[in-house]
Symmetry: C2
Subunit: 469 residues, 2 copies
């Protein structure tokens, strides 16, 4: 990934390269070295954390850490997780990001801390345009103008693309400018977002507008040719990677699975009928359900490919709901669809399926007894290289705490498909979790899934092992 | 509460009485009886669930259940919880509400189910104006126009008030009309929102605008004299109730505490130095911290009185941040304030402090190692009469799952105050939970709180009891 960026190959981060280079090299006032509080200097927050390659590259070349460390990107024990975090102490990073829509709120706090500290320096942020579909942004956008946070310049990378297609295809956003202006921001545009002169002019203009009672928004139009800023996102989540990335990713896997292998050697052998990813079992189940059950509808938050919804969407476009990057809204819409007799299956990653929307599931699904099936890919440790923000371990715990919630954690492709089919016949809220990696497929294809029933895999007398997933 | 509404006394629900009566009696097409799917009839969703008294009253008088049942409002085992739920099967209620900002998403789902079912009936919703501070609304508002959900009429009760004051004081929202229009809705206004003729005209106009490709929004301006639609909210959460309500509330308490009392009889006696609510211990701690520690800042999501922030706000207005009803934004801003060396204490109810913002805490506080103190009132069962949506039991479980999070559950006023003081000296994320009810205050006032240390209350040999809170 980093290699791809360095060598100038087109990549997910390229749409914002000129902007970040200009910001760090020409615009921001920065101190020598790095401290967390950043008093007496400008501060930048990356809200769309998936463009970490360009962020890390610019940080390294701005002197925050050795350029050689870029080669550790996405490796186990690296400080350069797939999405930025602070736990490992990487200089230049002040906040974890990766789960979208949170950066502007953090920036507001830092901006208000600067005011409290009598520090006249500025806060800069960068956001994706699709990211504005997350409601937390609008909480922050409303707050910023209400509280006159005028030491903040928020830049939106307007490239018109998100994972599942153009923003118009996924969730038409209309005029972003009109929206920011209706929320009382001072808005300016950089039409040539990949032209360094235009960026310098735009950022200089933006700086001149600070301190005048309004937060400042820059709409940065990046070239469509360069502006595939979700390619890195797409790579990380869809597995469509150039060779260098594949090598890096693969290097992680043997370590993660070593424990599993040790245990397997002592167990009865099962026949692997062909390794597959469990999420494809979900996709196959949805395809079959789409044909068999007219009541089944599917909802997705900009992750059709990752959830393997492609066939369902193609075969039943009228029963497929693309919600955009707005998981809270997705859960509510799913609950509403049950009122009218539909059986909604929602799909996004495990963190965004549970922790991101815990209260919405609690009130609108669990306490409202709604027949919603919450389906989650990328659960557990197997998303390792994406970093901590994408790697939820506590999703089972979260869902088990809710009244009436059935939690299903399947072991292979066949079982995931069978569980998906079984869910349509089960009335009540349910959470089904599965994953991206390819794993051995050993359950019989024709074995129906019985919710709540354990299966005996190995008989013996020495020890009892109870496992799930 | 219900008595107050029936006898025409001013109450929290009165601002919307004419609207709901008109909607149910003059406008909506309704079938006999009640079924959950509501196929072949119009459906209404109450998003601002705290105005349940008028909702229940209108439902009863529209024939959904006996008017006599209104007298059970907020009693234990009643179907009429303080905030509506569906578990008890109250006819007319299709969705739990109470945690704000979720109703429009649910309505969108129901509206799309109607389209799938070829059902030409309409979906109506009601929202508070302050409620629009919740970001999920803007996810839904964006989605509704993008997907042309034109069988929906969403009404906003514009009374300019929320719990902590006017909307302008709490979080100035600017022009609501301009915002909906910037999000491509068809907007109309009912200037006399307590005039039945005006409401009929407005709703009739709104109906005529459906089916034309845009969702329809009504801005319903309710009289300021009647429009204290958070009075019921204020009552429930602040304890300022008329006598009839006090009687109803008090009738709940002895049952809730019976188990506690039984146990106490067998324990060593402690001296009660004067019963107090633990949240006041938090407030007293914050007052002291405000004077002692310049770094301490406080953030609140429209619940100053409930969290006992009044003194801190009065003494240190520059260090007090009113966020409005936007908890996700509050957590992010708190995280940002630490960047600059502040020690932020956030305050709202336990459900909105944890489940509502789990992912924001996870990414922006826990994984980012931020020194944020998340402080929550109304934790646990003691909020019984407010209903299930406000009565979180799993907040400790949620917070214990997060890395580096210190969880503190105090037992009385003195200990809550001491724990609040201790938190300012403890570096790292922390969750402090306390409550509204008055409980015996038996810990010594001068006993410092040591985080992580257990206190031996009773010595003995028969049994070991380990308790928290």
């Amino acid at each position: 990934m980093v290699h791809a960026v360095n060598s100038g190959h087109p990549g997910g981060s390229l749409g914002c390269t000129e902007f970040l280079v200009t910001l760090y090299q020409n615009i921001m006032e920065r101190k020598e070295g790095f401290d967390m509080d950043g008093i007496g200097e400008d501060i930048f927050f990356l809200s769309n954390g998936h463009i970490s390659p360009v962020f890390y590259s610019v940080l390294a070349r701005s002197g925050y850490f050795p350029v050689s460390e870029l080669a550790t990107f996405r490796l186990l024990n690296s400080r350069l997780q797939g999405h930025p975090t602070t736990h490992e102490g990487l200089p230049g990073v002040r906040m974890a990001s990766g789960s979208l829509g949170q950066g502007l709120s953090v920036a507001l706090g830092a901006a208000q801390a600067k005011k409290l500290n009598g520090d006249n320096h500025l806060i800069y942020t960068l956001h994706g345009d699709g990211e504005l579909q997350e409601g937390q942004n609008w909480e922050a956008i409303m707050y910023a103008s209400a509280k006159k946070v005028d030491n903040l310049i928020a830049t939106v990378d307007v490239n018109g693309k998100q994972i599942d297609g153009t923003t118009d295809e996924v969730l038409a956003m209309g005029s972003i400018r009109a929206k920011f202006e209706a929320f009382d921001w001072d808005v300016l545009e950089i039409k040539e977002g990949n032209n360094i002169d235009a960026i310098i002019a735009g950022l200089t203009d933006a700086k001149s507008r600070t301190g005048k009672g309004k937060p400042v928004c820059i709409l940065l139009y990046t070239e469509m040719g360069n502006g595939v800023d979700f390619m890195m996102h797409t790579h990380a989540w869809h597995g469509k990677a150039p060779n260098n990335d594949q090598l890096e990713t693969i290097s992680f896997m043997p370590i993660a699975y070593s424990l599993l292998r040790t245990a397997k050697n002592k167990m009865k052998k099962y026949t692997n009928t062909g390794s597959k990813d469990t999420r494809s079992g979900f996709g196959a189940g949805m395809t079959e359900l789409g044909q068999k059950n007219e009541k089944v509808v599917a909802l997705c938050a900009d992750l059709i490919g990752s959830l393997k919804f492609d066939d369902f969407k193609k075969n039943h476009p009228e029963r497929f709901f693309q919600i955009g990057i707005a998981e809270a809204n997705m859960i509510g819409i799913a609950a509403g669809l049950t009122i009218g007799g539909k059986i909604p299956f929602t799909g996004t990653f495990a963190n965004f399926s549970t922790g991101r929307v815990y209260d919405q599931i609690r009130q609108s699904v669990a306490y409202s007894d709604k027949n919603v099936k919450i389906c989650a890919s990328h659960a557990g440790l197997t998303l390792g290289e994406d970093g901590a923000t994408h790697q939820i371990l506590e999703d089972i715990g979260l869902m088990k705490m809710l009244p009436g919630m059935t939690v299903i954690n399947t072991c292979d492709y066949n079982q995931t498909k069978a569980a998906t089919l079984a869910l349509a016949d089960h009335h009540g809220p349910a959470y089904l979790r599965f994953g991206r990696p390819v794993v051995p497929n050993f359950m019989p294809a024709d074995e129906p899934f019985v919710i709540g029933k354990a299966i005996l895999l190995n008989e013996g007398t020495d020890v009892t092992i109870v496992a799930t997933g």
